[in-house]
């Protein structure tokens, strides 16, 4: 039976329902009248704003400039890069009428912007002096989905997409890896989520790319979540869109390109990795409001003093760049307590007559259950430390989960058992689409990546027994 104070299905009972319950109780989003599209409610959108704020600063710091390209892509452009259109064709939304008339050429609602951007990049890039061209866009994109889940998979979603053109392969590869590293930092610093970074297999790479790198996180059920990818596009799109430039030696060469993106999906990963049976847990750096102060009011003459004390604490926190609110709703303190537990507010502070008298306050970090007491003169230091510690605790739990749930296997029997046990499995495989599909059919596990931390060595394919020389790959069931 569900706890009255936490109307959330326990993880052990139904992980998938738990995720939906956590989101509902934290008031993050709502279903919309459009199939597959969600509404980001203020509490949900605020999480994305925190992500944008971190990423936008990092992207600019790396020399990339923001721009904005049209939502619509003429169909003929999308078909220019053969693998690209094949990858996206089944997911497209098509505009056929505009201004009351049938269009001569249908317009695709962008599923990603390579084609619409590169058609213009070919005019922007003429000489080596125009390189590198470093562009980013914050935008909504649409990919038609049959089965959707809030944050994790929706027909429309929000993201940033970076697109660069370089003079050499090496420079493009470096940019691809640099942005992968930015996503790792975003994940670690903001989401408190250590990830495995690595390269996708040929079959799992982005449609049209030379190489795709990915951040893969492990959820509490052992399933993988990919939430950011960085692609070295080689010269594939440059050839299709005729992006060429005059080199210093006065010769024409095709540009070397990259694209990279992270989406609202990363918020889903954060929710799924940290939350508990009591509700949402927000890592402190992702919380727009770090602290809620709950005043204990008894209806007596002390109430005004307690409120004034709460305001004093709140304004001291705000003066030190720690966003804090006071919950002055007419709910009982207990209700407020549970409410903010479900909202995932990182720290709750309680103050009443006793705290006022002792110049103290009681506080509870969202991820711990015991209350602690501190003197008000140490307010800022105490809260700052607790926020830092909470980030560290959340990070360590996930790191530990990752460390203890990656299993090296050498037989297919072991492989199947480990996947069944909800592990990430590390092994050799022959790198073919056929083997990958076969394993997926038989076990539900797909390749996640060749981790960057692995080294090439000789081994035997876990499925076919064929000898290979490669890095080990990670297999897992995935969202």
């Amino acid at each position: 039976m569900k706890d009255k104070n936490t109307p959330i299905t326990p993880r052990a009972e139904d992980y998938s329902q738990w995720y939906l319950d956590v989101i509902r109780e934290a008031d993050l989003c709502d279903y919309s009248p459009v199939k597959g599209c969600m509404i980001l409610k203020p509490r949900g959108y605020a999480l994305w704003e925190q992500a944008v704020s971190f990423l936008d600063a990092e992207i600019k710091k790396s020399g990339v400039q923001n721009a904005y390209f049209p939502l619509f892509i003429p169909q003929r452009l999308l078909t220019k890069e053969k693998e690209h259109v094949e990858g996206f064709a089944p997911e497209l939304a098509i505009v056929t009428h505009g201004g009351g008339e049938a269009l001569d050429e249908p317009l695709v609602v962008r599923p990603t912007s390579e084609t619409i951007m590169y058609e213009t990049f070919k005019d922007w890039v003429q000489s080596y002096r125009d390189l590198p061209l470093l562009i980013n866009q914050w935008a909504n994109v649409v990919r038609w989905e049959k089965k959707t889940k809030p944050f994790l998979r929706t027909t429309e979603f929000l993201w940033q997409e970076g697109h660069t053109v370089h003079a050499t392969y090496e420079e493009a590869e470096q940019r691809t890896l640099d942005m992968l590293d930015m996503y790792r930092r975003y994940s670690e610093k903001m989401l408190a989520l250590p990830v495995i970074v690595g390269q996708k297999t040929e079959q799992e790479k982005f449609a049209g790319a030379l190489k795709t790198y990915t951040c893969e996180a492990m959820m509490q059920d052992g399933k993988a979540l990919q939430f950011a990818t960085s692609h070295n596009l080689g010269q594939n799109f440059a050839k299709a869109f005729e992006i060429n430039f005059l080199t210093e030696k006065n010769e024409y060469e095709f540009g070397w390109q990259t694209s990279w993106g992270v989406t609202t999906r990363s918020i889903g990963g954060m929710i799924m990795a940290h939350s508990d049976d009591k509700g949402l847990v927000i890592p402190p750096n992702m919380a727009a409001t770090k602290v809620v102060i709950i005043p204990f009011l008894k209806g007596g003459e002390d109430d005004a003093k307690v409120l004034a004390y709460a305001e004093q604490l709140a304004s001291e926190l705000k003066n030190n760049s720690i966003t804090a609110t006071i919950d002055v709703t007419d709910k009982r303190p207990g209700e407020k307590h549970y409410q903010h537990e479900r909202f995932g507010t990182p720290i709750r502070i309680e103050v009443g007559g006793r705290e006022l008298e002792n110049n103290s306050f009681v506080y509870i970090a969202r991820d711990l259950s015991e209350k602690q007491t501190a003197e008000s003169k140490n307010l800022v230091e105490t809260i700052k430390n607790e926020l830092t510690n909470m980030h560290g605790r959340l990070f360590d739990i996930v790191q530990n989960r990752l460390d203890t749930n990656i299993q090296d296997v050498s037989t297919y029997e072991e492989f199947k058992q480990a996947i069944e046990d909800g592990k990430f499995v590390r092994c050799f495989f022959d790198g073919t689409a056929k083997t990958e599909e076969l394993i997926k059919e038989e076990t539900g596990a797909s390749t996640r990546c060749y981790p960057l931390s692995e080294v090439e060595q000789s081994g035997i394919c876990i499925k076919t027994g064929v000898p290979v020389t490669s890095k080990k790959v990670i297999f897992a069931r995935a969202y």
Copy 2:
């Protein structure tokens, strides 16, 4: 003949071409492969980012929270409010296919989000305790346009749209006026653009609104530009979407709603109001980069010292929150000078051997032609003052233009002459659609607004001679 250094058509020769030339030379946007949609290049998008940064803070300060609703609107929703759908029907882009299949119900790409939001608001609003509901969204919208112009009129554009629900008419009206005032502040403080704020006529109001308020600016050719509107929606949409709530007296009442928005069009207004025959002029508060430092390098051994001096000045400015860049491209100083003139950088600083020796610097504000010299120890103060003064100068020019180009008229002959002379005309009219249309046909002028500053009085309609008791209205030709 065009000046070689300013390849821009003079305003006096062709105002419309001048506008396009200014935008091209400032590298703000590019045409796209999609008819009617523009590409915001980094310099153009940076202007919008400055606007967003100001407005987003103001919106949040006013208690409104950001959220995000779907791009697509099921057609049946759009038709719920009769006047609304009639107003927007000719401008819609329609998605008929998704995921490779024809859709059962076509989806409209949002031209504005009243209908998709209010279909959900009806569930969010149950009791007076849920009010006011204060939501804002930053989004792209699509309105099919036959004739487009960068920033001013494009099929897709960027905007914010605020949507609120209140318990009373009075509260909704206050919110409508408060947000109108926020737009006035945005215009004055950021765009350096004094505006006339007022109420639209019945014919010119938003499709579905009770009242529409507007900000109207005067361009250099005397034409009006409307760029922000705030609507008191009354209960029109609430009735259509069944947004009702239980009052404190336990009775059901329909909500009172507002919506308000400002778009990338306001950037077009800024460009058109301030720029000159030399190129773009950016009011200082809208400039992401306030200062460019141009070092005079002679190829000698002093060059390193001059560069170091430039860097010292740049970092002192940055430490005082004044963004500054050093132009180290290999262009000649003269070319750099003209380049940044066309880019509209508010202040150019020049430093060479002499300035290094004298511990001084030469500076030129974008809107003035004479160079000034100051001592480097006064750098921050000098530049801060010059930025403030430049804002004031730009503002005053537009205010003066507005003051001297609004003409009160009492005969239709005077009216026609004043419109022909490029004036805003202030007069009485009978308030009917018929008269408004007739005047527009005969003179090209449309009503802009009943200014808030006007008082009701008795008068005679400029066209029909009918006696009326109303505020005077402003007529003008408009973008």
